[in-house]
Amino acid sequence: MSAVSTQNSAEDSSGSPVGDLGSAVAGLDLKPALEAVLMVVDEPATEEHLAKILQRPRRAVADALRELADEYTVQGRGFELRLVAGGWRYYTRPAYAPAVEGFVLDGQHARLTQAALETLAVVAYRQPVSRSRVSAVRGVNCDGVMRTLLQRGLVEEAGAEPETGAILYRTTNYFLERMGLRGLDELPELAPFLPEADAIEGETLEGVPSFDPDAPDAPGYEDADD
Protein backbone atom coordinates (compact mmCIF):
# COMPACT_ATOMS: atom_id res chain seq x y z
CA MET A 1 0.00 0.00 0.00
CA SER A 2 2.32 2.62 -1.23
CA ALA A 3 0.20 5.64 -0.44
CA VAL A 4 -0.08 5.06 3.29
CA SER A 5 3.09 6.74 4.32
CA THR A 6 2.47 9.87 2.33
CA GLN A 7 -0.71 10.73 4.11
CA ASN A 8 -0.31 14.34 5.04
CA SER A 9 2.59 15.54 3.03
CA ALA A 10 0.46 17.22 0.42
CA GLU A 11 -2.11 18.77 2.72
CA ASP A 12 0.28 20.33 5.19
CA SER A 13 1.08 23.30 3.07
CA SER A 14 -2.46 24.56 2.85
CA GLY A 15 -4.72 23.03 5.43
CA SER A 16 -2.71 22.66 8.58
CA PRO A 17 -4.07 24.89 11.32
CA VAL A 18 -0.72 24.82 13.09
CA GLY A 19 1.32 26.71 10.56
CA ASP A 20 0.06 30.24 10.98
CA LEU A 21 -1.44 29.73 14.39
CA GLY A 22 0.09 32.90 15.79
CA SER A 23 -1.48 35.39 13.44
CA ALA A 24 -4.74 33.43 13.31
CA VAL A 25 -5.16 33.69 17.07
CA ALA A 26 -4.40 37.39 17.15
CA GLY A 27 -7.20 38.04 14.68
CA LEU A 28 -9.94 36.32 16.69
CA ASP A 29 -12.63 38.10 18.64
CA LEU A 30 -11.53 37.92 22.23
CA LYS A 31 -14.71 36.94 24.03
CA PRO A 32 -15.75 33.98 21.87
CA ALA A 33 -12.12 32.87 21.75
CA LEU A 34 -12.12 32.79 25.54
CA GLU A 35 -15.38 30.88 25.52
CA ALA A 36 -13.96 28.30 23.15
CA VAL A 37 -10.84 27.75 25.21
CA LEU A 38 -12.68 27.59 28.52
CA MET A 39 -15.17 25.12 27.07
CA VAL A 40 -12.46 22.46 26.84
CA VAL A 41 -10.24 23.12 29.87
CA ASP A 42 -10.88 21.08 32.97
CA GLU A 43 -8.45 22.94 35.22
CA PRO A 44 -9.10 26.58 36.05
CA ALA A 45 -7.17 28.73 33.58
CA THR A 46 -5.32 31.77 34.85
CA GLU A 47 -5.67 35.14 33.23
CA GLU A 48 -1.94 35.16 32.49
CA HIS A 49 -2.13 31.89 30.64
CA LEU A 50 -5.20 32.92 28.68
CA ALA A 51 -3.61 36.25 27.80
CA LYS A 52 -0.48 34.51 26.58
CA ILE A 53 -2.31 31.93 24.47
CA LEU A 54 -4.63 34.51 22.94
CA GLN A 55 -1.91 37.13 22.56
CA ARG A 56 -3.80 39.92 24.29
CA PRO A 57 -3.00 42.17 27.22
CA ARG A 58 -3.95 40.57 30.50
CA ARG A 59 -6.14 43.54 31.31
CA ALA A 60 -8.26 42.98 28.20
CA VAL A 61 -8.60 39.30 29.03
CA ALA A 62 -9.62 40.03 32.60
CA ASP A 63 -12.26 42.51 31.46
CA ALA A 64 -13.63 40.17 28.82
CA LEU A 65 -13.92 37.31 31.31
CA ARG A 66 -15.90 39.46 33.73
CA GLU A 67 -18.17 40.64 30.95
CA LEU A 68 -18.81 37.07 29.89
CA ALA A 69 -19.58 36.04 33.46
CA ASP A 70 -22.07 38.90 33.73
CA GLU A 71 -23.72 38.03 30.42
CA TYR A 72 -24.31 34.47 31.55
CA THR A 73 -25.84 35.67 34.79
CA VAL A 74 -28.03 38.23 33.09
CA GLN A 75 -29.17 35.70 30.49
CA GLY A 76 -29.91 33.16 33.22
CA ARG A 77 -27.71 30.49 31.68
CA GLY A 78 -27.44 27.09 33.34
CA PHE A 79 -23.69 27.52 33.57
CA GLU A 80 -21.54 30.25 34.98
CA LEU A 81 -17.97 31.42 34.59
CA ARG A 82 -16.20 31.73 37.93
CA LEU A 83 -12.81 32.71 39.20
CA VAL A 84 -11.81 29.94 41.59
CA ALA A 85 -8.38 29.35 43.10
CA GLY A 86 -6.81 31.91 40.80
CA GLY A 87 -8.27 30.51 37.58
CA TRP A 88 -11.39 30.72 35.43
CA ARG A 89 -13.60 27.79 34.71
CA TYR A 90 -17.14 26.97 33.63
CA TYR A 91 -19.29 25.54 36.37
CA THR A 92 -22.89 24.50 36.45
CA ARG A 93 -25.02 27.13 38.16
CA PRO A 94 -25.96 25.97 41.66
CA ALA A 95 -29.64 26.68 41.10
CA TYR A 96 -29.65 23.85 38.55
CA ALA A 97 -27.82 21.38 40.72
CA PRO A 98 -30.92 19.17 40.99
CA ALA A 99 -30.80 18.64 37.22
CA VAL A 100 -27.14 17.65 37.31
CA GLU A 101 -27.76 15.42 40.31
CA GLY A 102 -30.60 13.78 38.47
CA PHE A 103 -28.15 13.04 35.70
CA VAL A 104 -25.50 11.72 38.10
CA LEU A 105 -27.92 9.48 39.95
CA ASP A 106 -29.64 8.28 36.82
CA GLY A 107 -28.29 4.79 37.24
CA GLN A 108 -26.30 4.54 34.06
CA HIS A 109 -23.29 5.85 35.94
CA ALA A 110 -22.90 2.65 37.88
CA ARG A 111 -21.58 1.12 34.70
CA LEU A 112 -18.59 2.14 32.69
CA THR A 113 -18.82 2.78 28.99
CA GLN A 114 -17.15 0.34 26.66
CA ALA A 115 -14.44 2.90 25.95
CA ALA A 116 -13.82 3.37 29.68
CA LEU A 117 -13.67 -0.37 30.30
CA GLU A 118 -11.21 -0.89 27.47
CA THR A 119 -9.01 1.95 28.65
CA LEU A 120 -9.13 0.58 32.18
CA ALA A 121 -8.11 -2.82 30.85
CA VAL A 122 -5.13 -1.35 29.03
CA VAL A 123 -4.04 0.54 32.14
CA ALA A 124 -4.46 -2.54 34.30
CA TYR A 125 -2.21 -4.67 32.13
CA ARG A 126 0.29 -2.01 31.09
CA GLN A 127 0.69 0.00 34.28
CA PRO A 128 2.29 2.33 34.94
CA VAL A 129 1.39 3.80 31.59
CA SER A 130 1.04 7.26 30.06
CA ARG A 131 -2.11 8.55 28.45
CA SER A 132 -0.43 8.90 25.09
CA ARG A 133 0.58 5.27 25.19
CA VAL A 134 -2.92 4.16 26.01
CA SER A 135 -4.19 6.33 23.18
CA ALA A 136 -1.68 4.75 20.84
CA VAL A 137 -2.74 1.24 21.84
CA ARG A 138 -6.44 1.98 21.51
CA GLY A 139 -6.02 4.10 18.41
CA VAL A 140 -8.22 6.88 19.79
CA ASN A 141 -7.63 9.76 22.12
CA CYS A 142 -8.34 8.61 25.66
CA ASP A 143 -8.13 11.90 27.56
CA GLY A 144 -11.81 12.18 28.35
CA VAL A 145 -12.10 8.56 29.33
CA MET A 146 -9.01 8.71 31.52
CA ARG A 147 -10.50 11.69 33.28
CA THR A 148 -13.62 9.66 34.00
CA LEU A 149 -11.54 6.80 35.37
CA LEU A 150 -9.63 9.20 37.61
CA GLN A 151 -12.88 10.74 38.76
CA ARG A 152 -14.31 7.36 39.56
CA GLY A 153 -11.23 6.51 41.57
CA LEU A 154 -10.36 3.51 39.41
CA VAL A 155 -6.97 4.83 38.29
CA GLU A 156 -4.55 7.27 39.86
CA GLU A 157 -1.39 9.08 38.93
CA ALA A 158 1.85 7.20 39.52
CA GLY A 159 4.69 9.61 38.88
CA ALA A 160 6.09 10.64 35.57
CA GLU A 161 8.00 8.96 32.79
CA PRO A 162 11.65 9.95 33.25
CA GLU A 163 12.38 10.58 29.56
CA THR A 164 9.26 12.47 28.53
CA GLY A 165 7.85 13.78 31.78
CA ALA A 166 4.47 12.32 30.79
CA ILE A 167 2.25 11.49 33.74
CA LEU A 168 1.91 7.77 34.39
CA TYR A 169 -1.22 6.05 35.59
CA ARG A 170 -1.95 2.90 37.53
CA THR A 171 -5.04 1.20 38.85
CA THR A 172 -6.16 1.76 42.43
CA ASN A 173 -7.15 -0.44 45.32
CA TYR A 174 -10.72 0.60 44.61
CA PHE A 175 -10.31 -0.96 41.17
CA LEU A 176 -9.23 -4.24 42.75
CA GLU A 177 -12.15 -4.06 45.15
CA ARG A 178 -14.67 -3.50 42.35
CA MET A 179 -13.13 -6.33 40.35
CA GLY A 180 -13.24 -8.64 43.34
CA LEU A 181 -9.49 -9.19 43.25
CA ARG A 182 -7.07 -9.27 46.16
CA GLY A 183 -4.09 -8.04 44.16
CA LEU A 184 -2.92 -7.27 40.67
CA ASP A 185 -1.29 -10.69 40.52
CA GLU A 186 -4.81 -12.11 40.48
CA LEU A 187 -5.55 -10.52 37.13
CA PRO A 188 -5.87 -13.34 34.62
CA GLU A 189 -2.95 -13.96 32.32
CA LEU A 190 -3.41 -12.53 28.86
CA ALA A 191 -1.60 -15.34 27.11
CA PRO A 192 -4.56 -17.75 26.84
CA PHE A 193 -6.59 -15.05 25.11
CA LEU A 194 -3.93 -14.05 22.65
CA PRO A 195 -3.99 -15.37 19.11
CA GLU A 196 -0.24 -14.94 18.85
CA ALA A 197 2.14 -14.21 21.63
CA ASP A 198 4.37 -11.75 19.86
CA ALA A 199 1.87 -9.32 18.44
CA ILE A 200 0.59 -7.51 21.50
CA GLU A 201 2.00 -4.09 20.85
CA GLY A 202 -0.70 -2.14 19.13
CA GLU A 203 1.72 0.48 17.87
CA THR A 204 3.83 -1.94 15.96
CA LEU A 205 0.84 -2.97 13.94
CA GLU A 206 0.23 0.59 12.96
CA GLY A 207 3.25 0.60 10.72
CA VAL A 208 2.54 -2.59 8.87
CA PRO A 209 1.96 -1.35 5.36
CA SER A 210 -0.66 -3.73 4.22
CA PHE A 211 -2.31 -6.73 5.69
CA ASP A 212 -0.57 -9.75 4.43
CA PRO A 213 -1.80 -13.22 5.27
CA ASP A 214 1.70 -14.48 4.68
CA ALA A 215 3.25 -11.98 7.06
CA PRO A 216 6.02 -13.35 9.21
CA ASP A 217 3.79 -13.62 12.26
CA ALA A 218 1.17 -15.66 10.51
CA PRO A 219 1.20 -19.34 11.36
CA GLY A 220 2.84 -21.52 8.81
CA TYR A 221 4.65 -18.70 7.12
CA GLU A 222 7.95 -20.47 6.82
CA ASP A 223 6.43 -23.50 5.22
CA ALA A 224 4.45 -21.47 2.77
CA ASP A 225 7.56 -19.82 1.51
CA ASP A 226 9.34 -22.85 0.13
Binding site: S2, T6, A10, G15, A36, M39, V40, V41, D42, Y90, Y91, T92, A97, V100, E101, V104, L105, G107, H109, A110, R111, L112, L117, E118, T119, A121, V122, A124, Y125, R126, V137, R138, G139, D143, G144, R147, Q151, R152, L154, Y174, R178, M179, G180, L181, L187, P188, L190, F193, L194, P195, A199, I200, G202, L205, D212, P213, D214, A215, A218, D223
Partner: protein, 306 residues
Protein backbone atom coordinates in the same frame (compact mmCIF):
# COMPACT_ATOMS: atom_id res chain seq x y z
CA UNK B 1 -32.81 16.56 9.47
CA UNK B 2 -31.60 18.62 6.57
CA UNK B 3 -27.97 18.03 5.72
CA UNK B 4 -25.63 20.83 6.54
CA UNK B 5 -24.77 22.78 3.45
CA UNK B 6 -21.26 23.61 4.45
CA UNK B 7 -18.37 21.28 4.13
CA UNK B 8 -19.77 19.40 1.17
CA UNK B 9 -17.97 20.77 -1.82
CA UNK B 10 -18.51 18.92 -5.02
CA UNK B 11 -15.16 17.45 -5.83
CA UNK B 12 -13.67 18.78 -8.95
CA UNK B 13 -13.37 16.45 -11.84
CA UNK B 14 -11.68 17.26 -15.08
CA UNK B 15 -14.45 16.80 -17.56
CA UNK B 16 -13.48 18.38 -20.82
CA UNK B 17 -14.82 16.08 -23.43
CA UNK B 18 -13.82 15.58 -26.97
CA UNK B 19 -17.44 15.36 -27.93
CA UNK B 20 -19.04 18.42 -26.42
CA UNK B 21 -22.58 17.27 -27.01
CA UNK B 22 -22.42 14.24 -24.77
CA UNK B 23 -24.22 15.21 -21.57
CA UNK B 24 -23.70 12.42 -19.09
CA UNK B 25 -21.66 11.43 -16.14
CA UNK B 26 -19.56 14.51 -15.76
CA UNK B 27 -22.56 16.79 -15.80
CA UNK B 28 -22.55 17.18 -12.03
CA UNK B 29 -18.98 18.29 -11.95
CA UNK B 30 -18.40 21.96 -11.32
CA UNK B 31 -15.72 23.96 -13.03
CA UNK B 32 -12.68 23.62 -10.82
CA UNK B 33 -13.57 25.61 -7.75
CA UNK B 34 -10.03 25.70 -6.50
CA UNK B 35 -6.65 25.65 -8.16
CA UNK B 36 -5.73 22.08 -8.78
CA UNK B 37 -2.73 22.47 -10.98
CA UNK B 38 0.01 19.97 -10.72
CA UNK B 39 -2.06 17.71 -8.54
CA UNK B 40 -2.11 15.05 -11.17
CA UNK B 41 1.61 14.71 -11.32
CA UNK B 42 1.95 14.62 -7.58
CA UNK B 43 -0.73 12.06 -7.10
CA UNK B 44 0.16 9.73 -9.89
CA UNK B 45 2.97 8.33 -7.84
CA UNK B 46 0.39 7.73 -5.14
CA UNK B 47 -2.43 6.00 -6.90
CA UNK B 48 -4.50 3.61 -4.90
CA UNK B 49 -4.92 0.56 -7.02
CA UNK B 50 -5.61 0.01 -10.69
CA UNK B 51 -8.88 1.93 -10.82
CA UNK B 52 -7.24 4.91 -9.28
CA UNK B 53 -4.44 4.83 -11.80
CA UNK B 54 -6.87 4.40 -14.66
CA UNK B 55 -9.00 7.28 -13.45
CA UNK B 56 -5.98 9.50 -13.15
CA UNK B 57 -4.81 8.62 -16.63
CA UNK B 58 -8.24 9.28 -18.01
CA UNK B 59 -8.49 12.63 -16.29
CA UNK B 60 -4.99 13.53 -17.43
CA UNK B 61 -6.21 13.26 -20.97
CA UNK B 62 -9.27 15.25 -20.01
CA UNK B 63 -11.57 12.48 -21.08
CA UNK B 64 -14.71 11.34 -19.45
CA UNK B 65 -14.80 7.79 -18.22
CA UNK B 66 -17.59 6.97 -20.60
CA UNK B 67 -15.70 8.38 -23.58
CA UNK B 68 -12.26 7.04 -23.13
CA UNK B 69 -9.69 6.81 -25.90
CA UNK B 70 -8.48 3.50 -24.67
CA UNK B 71 -5.38 3.05 -26.77
CA UNK B 72 -3.51 5.94 -25.25
CA UNK B 73 -4.64 5.19 -21.75
CA UNK B 74 -3.81 1.52 -22.13
CA UNK B 75 -0.28 2.30 -23.25
CA UNK B 76 0.29 4.57 -20.30
CA UNK B 77 -1.25 2.11 -17.92
CA UNK B 78 1.16 -0.54 -19.16
CA UNK B 79 4.02 1.92 -18.92
CA UNK B 80 3.20 2.51 -15.28
CA UNK B 81 3.10 -1.16 -14.49
CA UNK B 82 6.50 -1.57 -16.12
CA UNK B 83 7.87 1.44 -14.35
CA UNK B 84 6.95 0.03 -11.00
CA UNK B 85 9.45 -2.74 -11.64
CA UNK B 86 9.79 -5.53 -9.11
CA UNK B 87 8.63 -3.51 -6.13
CA UNK B 88 5.09 -4.75 -6.09
CA UNK B 89 3.79 -7.65 -4.13
CA UNK B 90 1.92 -10.38 -5.86
CA UNK B 91 -1.52 -9.23 -4.73
CA UNK B 92 -1.04 -5.77 -6.01
CA UNK B 93 0.46 -6.84 -9.29
CA UNK B 94 -2.37 -9.25 -9.93
CA UNK B 95 -4.97 -6.58 -9.41
CA UNK B 96 -3.25 -4.28 -11.84
CA UNK B 97 -2.76 -7.05 -14.37
CA UNK B 98 -6.44 -7.87 -14.41
CA UNK B 99 -7.24 -4.32 -15.43
CA UNK B 100 -4.29 -4.16 -17.81
CA UNK B 101 -5.37 -7.37 -19.51
CA UNK B 102 -8.86 -6.03 -20.00
CA UNK B 103 -7.51 -2.79 -21.41
CA UNK B 104 -5.19 -4.64 -23.74
CA UNK B 105 -8.00 -6.83 -24.95
CA UNK B 106 -10.02 -3.76 -25.72
CA UNK B 107 -7.13 -2.06 -27.43
CA UNK B 108 -6.45 -5.15 -29.50
CA UNK B 109 -10.06 -5.27 -30.55
CA UNK B 110 -9.76 -1.67 -31.59
CA UNK B 111 -6.86 -2.47 -33.86
CA UNK B 112 -8.74 -5.20 -35.69
CA UNK B 113 -10.92 -4.27 -38.63
CA UNK B 114 -14.19 -3.01 -37.34
CA UNK B 115 -16.92 -5.49 -38.03
CA UNK B 116 -20.36 -6.46 -36.99
CA UNK B 117 -20.61 -7.90 -33.57
CA UNK B 118 -21.13 -11.46 -34.46
CA UNK B 119 -19.07 -13.89 -32.51
CA UNK B 120 -19.04 -14.59 -28.83
CA UNK B 121 -15.54 -13.27 -28.36
CA UNK B 122 -16.69 -9.83 -29.49
CA UNK B 123 -19.60 -9.93 -27.11
CA UNK B 124 -17.33 -11.03 -24.30
CA UNK B 125 -15.09 -8.08 -25.00
CA UNK B 126 -18.01 -5.71 -24.90
CA UNK B 127 -19.09 -7.19 -21.64
CA UNK B 128 -15.59 -6.84 -20.29
CA UNK B 129 -15.52 -3.23 -21.34
CA UNK B 130 -18.88 -2.44 -19.81
CA UNK B 131 -17.97 -4.23 -16.63
CA UNK B 132 -14.70 -2.38 -16.40
CA UNK B 133 -16.40 0.96 -16.96
CA UNK B 134 -19.20 0.17 -14.55
CA UNK B 135 -16.66 -0.66 -11.87
CA UNK B 136 -14.66 2.39 -12.74
CA UNK B 137 -17.72 4.63 -12.47
CA UNK B 138 -18.61 3.07 -9.17
CA UNK B 139 -15.11 3.55 -7.88
CA UNK B 140 -15.11 7.13 -9.05
CA UNK B 141 -18.31 7.77 -7.11
CA UNK B 142 -16.77 6.44 -3.90
CA UNK B 143 -13.65 8.40 -4.54
CA UNK B 144 -15.68 11.59 -4.76
CA UNK B 145 -17.45 10.61 -1.58
CA UNK B 146 -14.05 10.08 0.04
CA UNK B 147 -13.19 13.67 -0.88
CA UNK B 148 -16.35 14.82 0.83
CA UNK B 149 -15.40 12.75 3.87
CA UNK B 150 -12.02 14.46 3.94
CA UNK B 151 -13.62 17.88 3.89
CA UNK B 152 -16.03 16.94 6.63
CA UNK B 153 -13.39 15.34 8.82
CA UNK B 154 -11.18 18.40 8.42
CA UNK B 155 -14.04 20.69 9.28
CA UNK B 156 -15.03 18.59 12.27
CA UNK B 157 -11.46 18.42 13.51
CA UNK B 158 -11.77 22.14 14.15
CA UNK B 159 -14.52 21.50 16.70
CA UNK B 160 -13.55 20.25 20.13
CA UNK B 161 -16.18 18.55 22.26
CA UNK B 162 -16.52 19.47 25.87
CA UNK B 163 -15.44 16.44 27.87
CA UNK B 164 -14.78 18.06 31.19
CA UNK B 165 -17.09 15.84 33.16
CA UNK B 166 -18.45 16.31 36.62
CA UNK B 167 -17.44 18.86 39.15
CA UNK B 168 -16.05 17.27 42.30
CA UNK B 169 -19.12 17.90 44.42
CA UNK B 170 -21.26 16.14 41.84
CA UNK B 171 -18.78 13.34 41.40
CA UNK B 172 -19.16 12.54 45.07
CA UNK B 173 -22.72 11.52 44.40
CA UNK B 174 -21.76 8.97 41.81
CA UNK B 175 -22.89 5.45 42.58
CA UNK B 176 -20.35 2.70 43.10
CA UNK B 177 -18.85 1.42 39.90
CA UNK B 178 -20.09 -1.98 38.84
CA UNK B 179 -17.75 -4.02 36.68
CA UNK B 180 -19.78 -7.02 35.80
CA UNK B 181 -17.66 -8.67 33.15
CA UNK B 182 -15.46 -10.55 35.62
CA UNK B 183 -11.68 -10.98 35.54
CA UNK B 184 -11.75 -13.24 32.49
CA UNK B 185 -13.94 -10.89 30.51
CA UNK B 186 -11.65 -8.12 31.60
CA UNK B 187 -8.61 -9.98 30.27
CA UNK B 188 -10.43 -10.62 27.00
CA UNK B 189 -11.21 -6.94 26.76
CA UNK B 190 -7.57 -6.07 27.37
CA UNK B 191 -6.55 -8.36 24.55
CA UNK B 192 -9.19 -6.92 22.28
CA UNK B 193 -8.12 -3.39 23.10
CA UNK B 194 -4.44 -4.09 22.63
CA UNK B 195 -4.75 -6.38 19.67
CA UNK B 196 -7.62 -5.07 17.63
CA UNK B 197 -6.82 -6.97 14.52
CA UNK B 198 -9.26 -8.93 12.47
CA UNK B 199 -8.51 -12.58 12.21
CA UNK B 200 -6.24 -13.14 9.26
CA UNK B 201 -8.01 -15.09 6.61
CA UNK B 202 -6.07 -17.00 4.07
CA UNK B 203 -8.10 -18.19 1.18
CA UNK B 204 -6.76 -21.53 0.07
CA UNK B 205 -9.47 -22.70 -2.27
CA UNK B 206 -7.25 -22.12 -5.26
CA UNK B 207 -4.55 -24.35 -3.81
CA UNK B 208 -6.93 -27.24 -3.48
CA UNK B 209 -7.14 -28.12 -7.14
CA UNK B 210 -7.23 -31.89 -7.39
CA UNK B 211 -3.71 -33.20 -7.31
CA UNK B 212 -2.48 -35.20 -10.26
CA UNK B 213 0.37 -37.60 -9.74
CA UNK B 214 3.08 -37.70 -12.39
CA UNK B 215 3.90 -41.24 -11.35
CA UNK B 216 0.34 -42.35 -11.89
CA UNK B 217 0.24 -40.67 -15.27
CA UNK B 218 3.54 -42.31 -16.19
CA UNK B 219 1.83 -45.61 -15.53
CA UNK B 220 -0.94 -44.72 -17.94
CA UNK B 221 1.52 -43.63 -20.64
CA UNK B 222 3.68 -46.74 -20.26
CA UNK B 223 0.69 -49.04 -20.51
CA UNK B 224 -0.49 -47.42 -23.73
CA UNK B 225 2.93 -47.30 -25.33
CA UNK B 226 3.53 -50.94 -24.49
CA UNK B 227 0.30 -51.76 -26.21
CA UNK B 228 0.74 -49.57 -29.32
CA UNK B 229 4.52 -49.24 -29.54
CA UNK B 230 4.19 -45.70 -30.80
CA UNK B 231 1.71 -42.83 -30.41
CA UNK B 232 1.60 -39.09 -30.80
CA UNK B 233 1.34 -37.00 -27.63
CA UNK B 234 -1.97 -35.76 -28.98
CA UNK B 235 -3.30 -39.30 -28.90
CA UNK B 236 -1.85 -39.93 -25.47
CA UNK B 237 -3.95 -37.12 -24.07
CA UNK B 238 -6.94 -37.30 -26.34
CA UNK B 239 -9.39 -38.63 -23.78
CA UNK B 240 -8.72 -35.70 -21.45
CA UNK B 241 -11.20 -32.85 -21.33
CA UNK B 242 -10.26 -29.25 -22.12
CA UNK B 243 -10.35 -28.36 -18.42
CA UNK B 244 -7.95 -31.07 -17.43
CA UNK B 245 -4.78 -29.13 -18.06
CA UNK B 246 -3.20 -30.53 -14.94
CA UNK B 247 -3.35 -34.09 -16.22
CA UNK B 248 -2.00 -33.03 -19.60
CA UNK B 249 0.92 -31.39 -17.87
CA UNK B 250 1.44 -34.43 -15.66
CA UNK B 251 1.53 -36.74 -18.68
CA UNK B 252 4.02 -34.50 -20.38
CA UNK B 253 6.23 -34.45 -17.31
CA UNK B 254 5.91 -38.24 -17.17
CA UNK B 255 7.17 -38.39 -20.76
CA UNK B 256 10.22 -36.36 -19.80
CA UNK B 257 10.91 -38.69 -16.93
CA UNK B 258 10.57 -41.72 -19.20
CA UNK B 259 12.85 -40.09 -21.73
CA UNK B 260 15.44 -39.58 -19.04
CA UNK B 261 15.16 -43.27 -18.21
CA UNK B 262 15.58 -44.01 -21.93
CA UNK B 263 12.24 -45.82 -21.93
CA UNK B 264 10.90 -43.68 -24.76
CA UNK B 265 12.22 -41.89 -27.80
CA UNK B 266 10.76 -38.56 -28.82
CA UNK B 267 10.53 -37.14 -32.28
CA UNK B 268 9.07 -33.93 -33.62
CA UNK B 269 9.32 -33.21 -37.34
CA UNK B 270 8.51 -29.55 -37.26
CA UNK B 271 8.00 -26.88 -34.66
CA UNK B 272 4.55 -27.15 -33.13
CA UNK B 273 4.03 -30.37 -35.05
CA UNK B 274 2.91 -33.63 -33.54
CA UNK B 275 5.24 -35.06 -30.95
CA UNK B 276 5.74 -38.74 -31.68
CA UNK B 277 6.50 -41.01 -28.76
CA UNK B 278 8.02 -44.43 -29.30
CA UNK B 279 8.38 -47.10 -26.65
CA UNK B 280 12.03 -48.24 -26.29
CA UNK B 281 11.77 -49.88 -22.90
CA UNK B 282 11.45 -53.46 -24.15
CA UNK B 283 8.78 -56.01 -23.31
CA UNK B 284 9.93 -56.94 -19.82
CA UNK B 285 7.69 -56.67 -16.82
CA UNK B 286 10.15 -54.31 -15.17
CA UNK B 287 8.79 -50.83 -15.47
CA UNK B 288 11.08 -47.81 -15.73
CA UNK B 289 11.62 -45.86 -12.56
CA UNK B 290 9.65 -42.69 -12.46
CA UNK B 291 10.68 -40.59 -9.51
CA UNK B 292 8.24 -38.69 -7.38
CA UNK B 293 10.16 -35.52 -8.05
CA UNK B 294 7.07 -33.79 -9.38
CA UNK B 295 4.69 -35.32 -6.91
CA UNK B 296 6.21 -34.24 -3.67
CA UNK B 297 3.58 -32.55 -1.61
CA UNK B 298 4.24 -30.15 1.22
CA UNK B 299 2.94 -32.82 3.56
CA UNK B 300 4.56 -36.25 3.50
CA UNK B 301 1.61 -37.95 1.99
CA UNK B 302 2.14 -41.44 0.61
CA UNK B 303 1.60 -41.72 -3.10
CA UNK B 304 0.25 -45.13 -3.76
CA UNK B 305 1.30 -46.49 -7.04
CA UNK B 306 -1.32 -48.78 -8.53
Amino acid sequence: MEPEPEGVPVPEEPHVQEEPHVPEAAAEAQPDPEPDDGRFKVRLANFEGPFDLLLQLISKHKLDVTEVALSKVTDEFMAHIRAMGPDWDLDQTTEFLVVAATLLDLKAARLLPTAEVEDEADLALLEARDLLFARLLQYRAYKQIADIFTARLDEEARRYPRTVGLEPHHAELLPEVVISIGPEGFARLAVKAMLPKPKPQVYVDHIHAPLVSVREQAGVVVARLKEHGEASFRVLIEELGPDDTLTVVARFLALLELYREKAVALEQEEALGDLMVRWTGGDGEAEPTVTDEFDRAPEPEEEKKP
